[in-house]
């Protein structure tokens, strides 16, 4: 008498099926991130630095998308195909460690994180990496002539000084297009942060410190300046929507007019310096 034949339900090849699904999702998702979402990521293309940051954000998003999809597709796959049947009496078998999968996961994700970190650092310190300012001695300095502009933070306003134009100080930031600008950012009192989003520049403004950042506007536009460091009661009002990038002739006309308009103030300003530490006078201290 022969033994009864056992019939087993044939399991599909989940690994192959999941891999195919994930690859299809990546083939759809990554181009969407690069060509649809990427152009909408800030801060725009008004300066070399802003354009660089938009590119960086797109690259990082594109790199992250397959990882994101891996997790999401697996979750959805598991919910659909590994669901316990309604008449099932037993839970599925326990899943133990798989050295091959775990090692692969750790190796691949480590490589991605390391690559992303190196990419971000190189881009931040590169020629178009305005980043967060590099302190008084930047590692990378753009070649060619630069227009120095000093950003002076105080509670609660930013003012701007142009050392190559008689040290005139102005209440609004105006920059010439297609010119490399060297921003020297400092503070007269507490810690502030100079943030010109559309320019792609955010640099800490610390008292007694010259924090250098570079920016090269590439088109005529307006921009906003705000403080990005909680600095007191009027921090939220430390906002100026009147920043401008103008043509070189328009800039020359503006700075000439500013030198005349602010001549009384310029006459009593201290000599241009990378930092100022005005002593608390008779009252404060």
């Amino acid at each position: 008498m022969s033994a009864p034949k056992q019939t087993e339900m044939s399991e599909p090849n989940h690994a192959r099926r999941f891999t195919i699904l994930w690859l299809v999702a990546c083939l759809i998702g990554v181009p969407i991130v690069i060509w649809v979402i990427g152009p909408e990521l800030g801060p725009g293309t008004g300066t070399d630095q802003a354009a660089g940051q938009s590119t960086d954000a797109t690259v990082l998003s594109a790199v992250a998308t397959p990882v994101f999809l891996l997790v999401v597709v697996y979750l959805v796959y598991a919910v659909i195909f590994f669901r316990q049947p309604s008449d099932g009496a037993l839970e599925g078998p326990a899943v133990r460690g798989d050295a091959k999968i775990q090692t692969t996961w750790i190796a691949v994700t480590s490589a991605i994180v390391l690559a992303v970190a190196i990419f971000g650092t190189v881009r931040l310190e590169g020629a178009s990496g305005a980043g967060s300012g590099s302190g008084p001695n930047p590692l990378t300095v753009p070649s060619g002539p630069r227009l120095p502009v000093q950003v002076i933070a105080q509670q609660w306003a930013f003012t701007y000084r142009y050392p190559t134009y008689g040290g005139v100080e102005t209440p609004h930031l105006v920059l010439p297009v297609n010119t490399t600008i060297e921003l020297n950012v400092t503070s007269l009192d507490v810690i502030h942060s100079f943030w010109a989003y559309q320019l792609g520049v955010k640099a800490d403004a610390n008292p007694g410190v010259n924090n250098v950042a570079f920016v090269k506007p590439t088109r005529i536009m307006g921009f906003e300046v705000r403080c990005a460091e909680l600095c007191g009661i009027w921090h939220g009002a430390m906002f100026d929507p009147h920043g401008k990038v103008v043509s070189v002739p328009a800039f020359k006309a503006w700075i000439t007019a500013a030198r005349v308009a602010y001549a009384p103030a310029t006459a009593v300003l201290p000599p241009y310096s990378k930092t100022y530490l005005p002593e608390p006078t008779r009252r404060g201290g």
Binding site: D189, I233, A237, P264, A265, P280, G284
Partner: protein, 225 residues
């Protein structure tokens, strides 16, 4: 009811009461704005609106029981000096401001702000004399509305002046002061922050604490309506 249950109920009730009291205190603190003072109509020959202010080295017990020794702006309203820094002015009009400045000099941290900016003609009068800037070391306070581009430095009363005002509200007819007048144009409706840029908060770090960080003393709003 067991003693344990009583304790739990007692602690729970105490926690609720304390929480409610803290909530009420914070709500009161967060919503306690100084009163809004409307500018008065200027004489027909001049047109526009008028604001009359004074700056006191110590605002005094009467106007600020909690902080009588704080420096402060004070505004004239219906014949009385009251402590408020929220002023209502009409849109697209000229506002004429008179400030009786009773405080001594402190000095500007940024001398750039010693130049009068954003007023009609880019000037102000100090004791009847028209000027477009002051010595930054002589600044006692500023009246500045950055969003409107208005920066007006206020020179201080000399330290050796007689009849100096010790406590507000000060009396312009008898006590030493400087009289500053200027006018500026308002634009569209909105709420605009104004503030003093002189670090005049005595006894606070860099002079920018206390009255400089508290609404109702050295900063407030211009409500353009």
């Amino acid at each position: 009811m067991g003693s344990f249950t009583s304790k739990v109920l007692g602690v729970g009730a105490a926690v609720i009461i304390v929480g409610v009291l803290i909530g009420l205190y914070v709500a009161d603190w967060a919503t306690s704005f100084p009163p809004t003072v409307a500018a008065t109509s200027a004489p027909a020959a001049v047109g526009g609106a008028s604001l009359t202010l004074q700056t006191d080295a110590a605002v005094g017990q009467k106007l600020s029981p909690a902080h009588p020794d704080w420096v402060s702006y004070v505004v004239r309203s219906k014949g009385q000096w009251i402590r408020s820094t929220i002023y209502q002015v009409p849109a697209y009009s000229v506002v004429h401001v008179t400030i009786y400045q009773f405080d001594s000099p402190t000095g500007l941290r940024n001398p750039f702000l010693s130049q009068v900016q954003g007023t009609i003609g880019g000037t102000m009068t100090v004791d009847g004399r028209t000027v477009n800037s002051i010595n930054p070391e002589e600044a006692s306070h500023t009246f500045a509305v950055p969003e409107m581009g208005v920066f007006v430095p206020l020179p201080g009363v000399p330290e050796e002046a007689k009849n100096a005002c010790e406590e507000g509200p000060c009396e312009p007819s008898t006590q030493a002061h400087r009289t500053i007048t200027f006018s500026f144009r308002t634009g569209k409706k909105g709420r605009y922050r104004w503030q003093c840029f002189v670090p005049c908060g005595a006894g606070y770090l860099f002079g920018n604490g206390g009255p400089m960080q508290t609404l109702g003393y050295m900063g407030g709003f211009i409500d353009v309506v």
